[in-house]
C-alpha cells in the first residue's frame, strides 16, 4: 500500500465511487458533464441541454384577455389519409384505407388503441346481429373478432347470435399488431385540436401533445374522434347533444361468492357481466344525461361516479357471502356516449330502419344490441359533411336521427362506418376528388373485396 496517491489513482478511485453511487441508486453529484445524446448507462440521456422554449408565441395576457398570437406550426407529417382517433372506427378506417393502397397516419389521444372499447372498458360487443341472429358486422371488424378468437383469454361468448365479451388488454395488444402489420403511421398521445382549412376544404389537422402544437397535412381527414372534434373545428354543421355519461368498472373475486350465506332477497343485481378473466366482471354504469363536452360536467361525472362505484362496492361487500368481491379498477376513460352529431348529406334514420329502406349508396349494414331490429342500411351520405370537403366522419358522430344514436354508437356499427370511411377516403385520394364526389360503386366494390357486408 502506497502512502501517496498519484493523480491517476485518484481519478480511478473517484470513477469507481461514482459507479458505485450509480449502482446503489444513491443520487450522487454528477461528476462529469455529459455530451449531447451520449448515454450515461443508468440515467437518462440529455436530449436538449440548457433549453429555453422559444418565447413570443405563448399566449399573452393583454387587457384582461388571454391572447394566442399567430404562430407557425411545425409540420409533423404529410400523408394521404389522416385518421383522427384510434377507437373502433378509427382503427378500422386506418387499416381499410391502408389496404386500399394509400399512405395512412393515425393519431390517438391516449397511449393505447381501442378508445372507449378498451379505455372505457366497454367490453361487451353489442350490435353486430339482427333479428334471427344473423351477423351483419363483417369486414375488418369481423377480422378483429376472428383474431381475438385465436388469442388465449381474449374473448368469450363468440357464438352465432350472441354478444361476445372481450378482454381490454387483448384488444389493445391486437390493435398494435394489426396497425403495425397494416403499416399505418401512428402518433399516440396526440390530441386533435384543430382542422387545417383551405376555404371549405380540410387540409389536415393540428395536434396538441407534450411536443407542443404540430400539424399533419393530409388529402382526406377521417374524423373518428367520436365527439366530432375535427368536423366541429372545420366548421361543418352538427348537432350538439346531451346523452348519458357513465363510468365502467371491473370487479374481481366473483368466483369467491358464497351465495349460500346470502339471505333471501339480498342478492345484489349490479354485479355486471363476465369477462374473459375468470372471476372478473365488467360493470356498466349508465349515468345521467349531460353535456359530454362541458368540462365542469365531465369533472363532476368523474368524481360522482367514482364515489358511487366505491360506495356501492362497500355495500356489496357488506352482504353476507360477498365479502371478498372487490373493485378492481375503474375505466381510465369516462363513458361519454353521444356529443356532437354530424349533419351530413344523408342521415341514418329510425324511420328508414322501420321501413327497411335500401340506399343506393349503402356502405354498410348495422345491427342492434339484442338483435331486436332488422338489418338497417347505412348510406354513404351519413359520413359526408354537407359543406366541408376532404373530410369524412366515422363512428358514433356520423349523421343520424338521435333516435338511432343508441345503435349507431355501438362498437360493431363503429367498425362498419369506420371501414367505409377508410375505403372512401382512400378512393377519394386515389381518384383525386373530394370524398363527396368519390365513386360509390368503386367504394362498394372495394368494401366487398375487404369482406364487408352491404346487405
Amino acid at each position: 500500500m502506497k502512502d501517496r496517491i498519484n493523480r491517476r489513482d485518484c481519478l480511478r478511485m473517484l470513477g469507481y465511487s461514482g459507479l458505485a453511487a450509480g449502482l446503489s441508486g444513491i443520487p450522487g453529484r454528477r461528476l462529469w458533464a455529459q455530451n449531447l445524446g451520449e448515454s450515461s448507462g443508468f440515467q437518462s440521456s440529455v436530449i436538449s441541454a440548457s433549453k429555453i422554449e422559444p418565447r413570443g408565441v405563448n399566449a399573452v395576457f393583454m387587457d384582461g384577455q388571454v391572447i394566442q398570437p399567430q404562430r407557425q406550426l411545425p409540420i409533423l407529417d404529410k400523408t394521404d389519409v389522416l385518421v383522427v382517433g384510434g377507437g373502433p372506427a378509427g382503427i378500422v378506417a386506418a387499416i381499410a384505407a391502408k389496404r386500399t393502397g394509400v399512405n395512412v397516419t393515425l393519431v390517438e389521444r391516449y397511449g393505447h388503441f381501442g378508445g372507449l372499447w378498451t379505455g372505457g372498458l366497454v367490453l361487451l360487443i353489442l350490435g353486430h346481429i339482427v333479428t334471427g341472429g344473423k351477423q351483419v358486422c363483417q369486414g375488418i371488424g369481423e377480422e378483429i373478432m376472428r383474431r381475438l378468437d385465436t388469442m388465449d383469454g381474449a374473448i368469450i361468448d363468440r357464438k352465432p347470435g350472441a354478444n361476445p365479451t372481450v378482454d381490454a388488454e387483448a384488444v389493445k395488444y391486437l390493435m398494435v399488431e394489426m396497425i403495425e402489420e397494416a403499416g399505418v403511421r401512428v402518433f399516440l398521445h396526440c390530441w386533435g385540436v384543430d382542422a387545417i382549412m383551405d376555404n371549405r376544404s380540410v387540409r389536415g389537422a393540428v395536434f396538441e401533445s407534450k411536443a407542443g402544437r404540430q400539424a399533419i397535412l393530409a388529402d382526406v381527414v377521417v374524423d373518428a374522434t367520436g365527439d366530432g372534434d375535427v368536423f366541429a373545428a372545420a366548421g361543418a354543421e352538427f348537432e350538439h347533444r346531451s346523452h348519458n355519461v357513465g363510468l365502467v368498472s371491473r370487479i374481481g373475486n366473483l368466483d369467491r361468492i358464497d351465495s349460500q350465506k346470502t339471505p333471501e332477497g339480498q342478492k345484489p343485481r349490479r354485479l355486471g357481466n363476465p369477462t374473459p378473466v375468470a372471476g372478473v366482471n365488467w360493470v356498466n354504469l349508465t349515468g345521467p344525461e349531460v353535456d359530454g363536452l362541458d368540462l365542469a360536467t365531465l369533472t363532476r361525472m368523474e368524481m360522482n361516479h367514482r364515489k358511487f362505484i366505491w360506495k356501492n362496492m362497500q355495500k356489496t361487500r357488506s352482504i353476507p357471502g360477498y365479502e371478498q368481491v372487490y373493485l378492481m379498477e375503474t375505466a381510465p376513460q369516462l363513458g361519454v356516449r353521444i356529443t356532437r352529431v354530424l349533419h351530413g348529406l344523408n342521415r341514418i334514420r329510425l324511420d328508414d330502419l322501420k321501413a327497411n329502406t335500401k340506399f343506393p349508396d349503402v356502405i354498410g349494414v348495422g345491427g342492434a344490441s339484442n338483435a331486436e331490429h332488422k338489418e338497417w342500411q347505412i348510406p354513404y351520405g351519413a359520413l359526408v359533411p354537407r359543406k366541408v370537403d376532404h373530410l369524412l366522419a366515422a363512428g358514433r358522430c356520423v349523421s343520424m336521427d338521435i333516435r338511432m344514436a343508441d345503435l349507431v354508437r355501438l362498437i360493431p356499427n363503429c367498425f362498419v362506418t369506420g371501414h367505409a370511411a377508410g375505403v372512401a377516403a382512400a378512393v377519394a385520394v386515389q381518384d383525386q376528388c373530394p370524398p363527396r364526389k368519390a365513386d360509390i360503386t368503386k367504394i362498394q366494390k372495394i368494401l366487398k373485396q375487404q369482406d364487408a357486408y352491404l346487405g
Binding site: 353489442l126 348519458n244 360493470v283 349508465t286 345521467p288 329510425l350 344490441s369 339484442n370 331486436e372 345503435l407
Partner: protein, 395 residues
Amino acid sequence: MTKQSARFLVRATVLGIAVIILFPFFSCPFLLSLVPAMSPLTAVASLFTVKKCSMAIGIGLILGGLVALRHRWFCRWVCPTGLCMDGASVLGRRLGYRPMRKGAYGQWFVFIILGAALLGYPLLLWLDPLAQFSGLAVPVASPFRLAAWSSVIFFVALLFLNVFRPNVWCSRFCPLGAFQDITIWLPCRVRSRLRFAPKDNKPLLGTGRLARRAFIGLLLGAAGACMIRLFHSAGRRLLRPPGAIHEEQFTGLCSRCGNCIRSCPAHIIQRQADPGDWAGFLTPVLRFEKDYCLENCTRCTQACPTGALSRITIAQKPNIKIGKARVDMNLCLLGEDRECSVCRRWCPYDAIRYVFSQEMYMLVPVIDPVQCNGCGACEAMCPARPHKAIVVAPI
C-alpha cells in the same frame, strides 16, 4: 236453368266471394267487415247498442229492409252458412235422418238479443251465422291457439247437427233466419189487413205465439243484459283493440266474428279464452309478446261489423288509450346497469324518457301518461327475459 240451380249458383258464388274475402288473398278490412255486416240482425242489435249508424250497420239495415219484402230470400239466395248447412242436410236426408219438427229457438234468440240490445248489451249476438262464418278465417291469423279455432269447432258441430237433424240450424236455431221470419210477419199482418194476401201465403214458421214469445224474450234479454252489465262486467279491465267501446258493453256487442284478429297485420289480437271470464269468452284481447299495435294502422276498427270497435283514424290513434305501460325496475335491464334503450327507441309516441335517479344512481324509464296510448311497442321489444320488464296494463 231451373230456379233451384240458379239459386244454388248464386249462393255458391256468394260463398266463393266470402271465402276469397276471408282468406288471405285479399286483406282489405272493409271487405272483411262486409261478411258479418250483411246480417240485418247484427245491424239492428248494433244500432240499438251504440246508437249511431256506421257504414257496416247501414248495409245490414238496408238488407234488413229488403228482407221484409220477401220471406227468407236472404237464406235462400245469399247466406253462405246456409249453403254449407244445406249440404249437410242433404247428406243427412240421404242417410235417412229426419228433420226436427218443433222448436222456434231462433226466435227466442232474436228477442233475447234485441231485448238485451235495447239495454246496451246484445246477449247471444255471437249466434249470428255470418259472424261465425267470418270466424272460420281466424286460424289463418293465429293457427296455434285452440281459441282461434272456436268458430271452426262451432261450425263443424253445426254441420254434424244438420246431418243428424237435417235443416235444424236454419229452421230451428238460426237467429238470422228467425229474424227474417219476424220481419216478414209484420208486413204480412199489414197486408192481410189491407186484403192483399202475400204471394207466398204459407203459414209462417212458428209465428203462432209470436207476441208472447216476443214479450218474454225481450224481457229475458233485458234482464240478462242488466245482470251482466251490473255484476259481471263492472270493474273488469282488459287490453282491447283500439277504439273498443266501454268494457261493460264490449263483451256483449262483440259478435266474435274474429275480423279484428284476421285483419291485424301485427297478429297481436287473440281470442280471450280465460274460463273465469265467461261473459268475455272469445272476445279479442291484445297480447304484446311479439309485436305491437302499429301506429299507422286502424284495420281492426275498419273490419269490425258491430261497432264494438268504433272507427278511428290514424290521426286519432295517439289519443286512443289501449292501456298504459308500466316498468318493473326489478326486471328492467337498466336496473342491472345493462346498456339498453330498446323501449325508448321503439316507442312511436316518444312517451318514454330515461330519468337518472340520483338515489338509485341508475336510469329509470318514466312513462308519460299523456303520450302513452298503450300500443305495446315497448313490451313487445323489451329484451328482459323470462319476464318483460315493461308491460302494458289496462287503464
